[in-house]
């Protein structure tokens, strides 16, 4: 890894996965492309670990913060 601020990378991937339903889905279905889409070059170690993640729970998390149509 280069000398970029890793905490910024961390914030990007965790934050996006938590609150962006499309990104959460992409992280589950094609983690390499998802990481590249936010400027992170995936390593084998990352991809192996991401394969273990419970994709549904992350998608439900992202959904919890999606705007609800018709809310008053």
């Amino acid at each position: 890894m280069d000398d970029r601020d890793t905490s910024a990378d961390l914030g990007s991937v965790v934050g996006k996965a938590a609150f962006d339903e499309a990104f959460a889905e992409a992280l589950a279905s094609d983690p390499a492309a998802a990481l590249r889409s936010i400027g992170i070059e995936p390593t084998d170690e990352m991809l192996a670990a991401l394969a273990e993640i419970d994709a549904e729970s992350i998608q439900r998390l992202a959904k919890a913060f999606e705007p609800q149509p018709g809310g008053i």
Binding site: S7, G11, A18, E45, E52, I53, R60, A64, G70, I72
Partner: protein, 306 residues
């Protein structure tokens, strides 16, 4: 959460609103129909107003009336019709103040209908000199004042949240005043007003937490986002939400709920307490989804952060 009788009244009010608008202003009616369909995904006003996550603006006067005696259906038909119109007035103004809703400027003339029909039912219930009108005037103008004030805030701390942002739902006290004056039972009105304000705090905080991403995208200032920037001025806001913001927000919600329960207890408002129980169950389900997801994400953090 909602009695069948109240749902029936809401359905009638929805139909009456659309029929009156079509009769008086058919062109506006078509535009308003399209606006409501887009905003509410094709659901009727009755469904929207009685949803489990809606602000209980029809329920609070229903509880007030029920605490006095047998409910007066005619009164609630008038209140519900007025409240729907008042809400749409406020919602249209809010949407227009939102930077992404510029297209709704063409709907501005519809405000004439909403405002007239918000006030009209009260004209039939109260004589011109009735003290209700003073409550309506004070509450309606205070709500407008905090709405404008809130839109201009760049940073919101707890005091400003309670004094301004959380009072944007203050107009919900108008039907409470109507029941109190109509029934000539004014001694509990201050506590019911406190309850309505306390629910406004809880409701606004709930919105702040679960709509934070949309608010951040729209660069809207909220108490929740402001607190994140205060606590982590150099961090991405989403990282703060994941690390501590969500838990902090839930703790704030819990404090607001404690206050709501205290006031409902003072009022011996069993129906309101049961409603709060149900809202807490719904919130716990939302919280569970978030907490399980955040736990799963901790492994993303471990890998990417290494």
């Amino acid at each position: 959460m909602y009695d069948e009788a109240l749902i029936e009244i809401a359905v009638e009010a929805d139909m009456q609103l659309r029929a009156n608008l079509t009769h008086e202003a058919p062109f506006i009616a078509r535009e308003v129909d399209a606006w409501l369909d887009e905003m509410f995904g094709g659901l009727g006003l009755a469904e929207i107003f009685t949803r489990s996550d809606a602000f209980p603006m029809l329920l609070i006067p229903w509880w007030v009336d029920g605490s006095i005696g047998e409910r007066d259906r005619r009164l609630h038909r008038a209140l519900t019709y007025s409240t729907m119109n008042g809400y749409l007035y406020i919602r249209l103004v809010d949407n227009l103040m939102d930077r992404d809703a510029a297209g709704e400027v063409s709907l501005l003339p519809a405000l004439s209908f909403f405002h007239f029909e918000f006030v009209e039912p009260y004209r039939r219930l109260f004589e011109p000199g009735d003290r209700f009108w003073s409550d309506l005037r004070t509450t309606w103008l205070a709500t407008a004042d905090v709405t404008m004030n809130d839109a201009q805030l760049a940073d919101i701390d707890k005091i400003t949240f309670e004094r301004v942002s959380a009072r944007k739902t203050g107009a919900a006290k108008i039907p409470v005043a109507a029941v109190s004056h109509y029934r000539r039972r004014l001694h509990r009105q201050p506590e019911w007003n406190d309850f309505t304000d306390a629910f406004g705090r809880w409701h606004q905080m709930h919105n702040d937490i679960f709509s934070w991403r949309k608010d951040a995208d729209h660069q809207a200032a909220t108490y929740f986002l402001s607190e994140g920037r205060r606590r982590r001025p150099n961090a991405a806001i989403d990282a703060w939400v994941v690390d501590e913001g969500f838990s902090w927000g839930m703790d704030e919600l819990d404090r607001f709920m404690t206050d709501l329960r205290r006031i409902a207890g003072l009022l011996k408002a069993e129906e309101a307490l049961a409603y709060l129980d149900e809202r807490e169950v719904l919130l716990a389900l939302q919280e569970e989804d978030v907490m399980i997801g955040l736990a799963a994400l901790s492994s993303v953090r471990d890998v990417v952060g290494r």
